[in-house]
């Protein structure tokens, strides 16, 4: 399991109800179910991934977060997870609102567009960045709304969303993000992991 998932799992208390939006092949959900006695649900757009989740005994609904999140009642989960998917939505703001409606806490991770390699790509190559975390070309990327760690922090502040925990990940190394180191973390982190609440 990748480092990002270990960090997310550590942010979640035992015996809670968790919805993973865009749960992929269910690796994280299975880990939470088996190790933390979590009551898990998933929402996943790919039929193939839903099949894999079914074979793992996970309850996953085939669907699209932008359409199908609305069916979940208010506060029906303790946590909702959105791992590296926010940038692929038409209306990310609406999705964040929905996440914080269906759960008390949301854990959102974003590939950081402010990472220095990404910046250099554009600065020196003059082409849209292609990196380990952003492997697609501009014409076939599912990503519509890329943002940086700083963008996301600003967004939360503007919307009065409480940043309960902000974590930066670079090459498996974990560090905390705070107001003092934000510029540096924004430059040197590949991934931002945020635990947010209303």
């Amino acid at each position: 399991m990748k480092k990002e998932f270990h960090i997310i799992a550590e942010l979640i208390q035992k015996n809670k109800r968790v919805l993973d939006v865009g749960c992929g092949d269910g690796t994280l959900l299975k880990h939470l179910k088996d190790n933390k006695n979590i009551d898990t649900r998933g929402l996943e757009i790919s039929k193939k991934n839903v099949q894999i989740c079914v074979s793992k005994g996970l309850s996953v609904i085939e669907g699209n977060a932008e359409k199908d999140l609305q069916q979940f009642p208010n506060s029906s989960f303790d946590y909702v997870i959105l791992s590296q998917t926010l940038q692929a939505f038409y209306k990310p703001e609406k999705v964040i609102d929905d996440l914080l409606r269906v759960a008390n806490k949301a854990i959102v991770t974003i590939p950081n567009f402010g990472y220095w390699k990404v910046r250099l790509n554009l600065l020196f190559k003059g082409t849209m960045p292609v990196t380990k975390n952003l492997p697609n070309k501009w014409y076939d990327t599912p990503n519509l709304h890329m943002c940086t760690i700083k963008d996301f922090v600003n967004f939360c502040n503007k919307k009065n969303i409480n940043l309960f925990k902000s974590i930066a990940l670079y090459d498996e190394k974990v560090s905390k993000i705070n107001n003092n180191n934000l510029e540096m973390k924004n430059l040197f982190s590949e991934l931002g992991i945020f635990s947010i609440e209303k």
Binding site: K47, V54, V60, I61
Partner: protein, 369 residues
Amino acid sequence: MNNIDKVKTIIIKKPLKLDCGKTISNFPLAYETYGKLNEKKDNAILVFHALSGDQFVTGINPITNKNGWWTHLVGPNKSVDTNKFFVICANVIGGCMGSYGPNSIDPLTNKKLGTNFPVITINDMVNVQYNLLDHFKIEKLFCVMGGSMGGMQVLQFVANFPNKTKTAIPIACTASHSAQNIALNELGRQAIMADSNWKDGDYLNLKNSPNKGLSVARMAAHITYLSQKGLQEKFGRKLQERDDLKFSFDADFQIESYLRHQGSAFVDRFDANSYLYITRAMDYFDLVKEYKGNVSDAFKKTKVKFFIISFTSDWLYPTAENKEIIIALNAAGADVGFIEIKSDKGHDSFLLEVPDFLITIKNFLQANY
């Protein structure tokens, strides 16, 4: 139908009040089983059949000598593995494969009941089949599953008996029969009743049956089980054993010949009155109304693990209607998974060899047993 007396039945002695208000008792419920019930009695799967199905899920149906309707899915080493699971399926009441229905004899008149049989509902069907749990002394089923009308029975079963199954798989169904589906059922019923042999349902005591009417009903229904794309690919405008159009009303096209065959084969194994009663039960199915506008109340406290399956080309019970069930289950905080299987075979997909469907069922059962 020959050998119909040889099907397995239990006699249900306890009086049951039907939704129509009438009470029935001392009536037969025909069933079949596959595999063995284990010592812990935790490996039982109750399968519910659809409109034209019966209790003979797999293997050779001893009455029709044809393959069971879910032979692709159920059997030794298949998705529903009868080496592992004990599969039970009953003929619904109102049916014509040995259960209490319009074919049954009225002891007062010694004549077949015909339309004197009471109008039954999905709820009635399910309440009757619940007796099978007592019969086999099963405290809790491992799974209830079924497609189309079978799926409606799955939903009704969990609503009525929330602690009596561990898992539930409603396939290609709905929580509330749509206007389009009521319309299509009415078309079939009118075809039967327009046949002069129907005689207000009393044909069973006379010589001739309304075979033409039932056949037309089946032809119309069969079209609704397929998809435009599936029909086009399979038949297109291909001609039936001829080089050119005959400028007549014979079956020039293969699709015409195919439908005529479907119609005439159906009358050999199905009863026209049963068709009226069962389609009526489907039309009356409305969990939304039963739970006063809030289907999620039907599943309020259930711990049952649901898995819902729909098919992309099914326009009879489309994905959108299946999703209504998921929404209700989510609103109740129930445990639910869902997949829409890609298939060009329309509503019939659940009865056919659709690999993704067969694998999904296999994986779900394996992962949860």
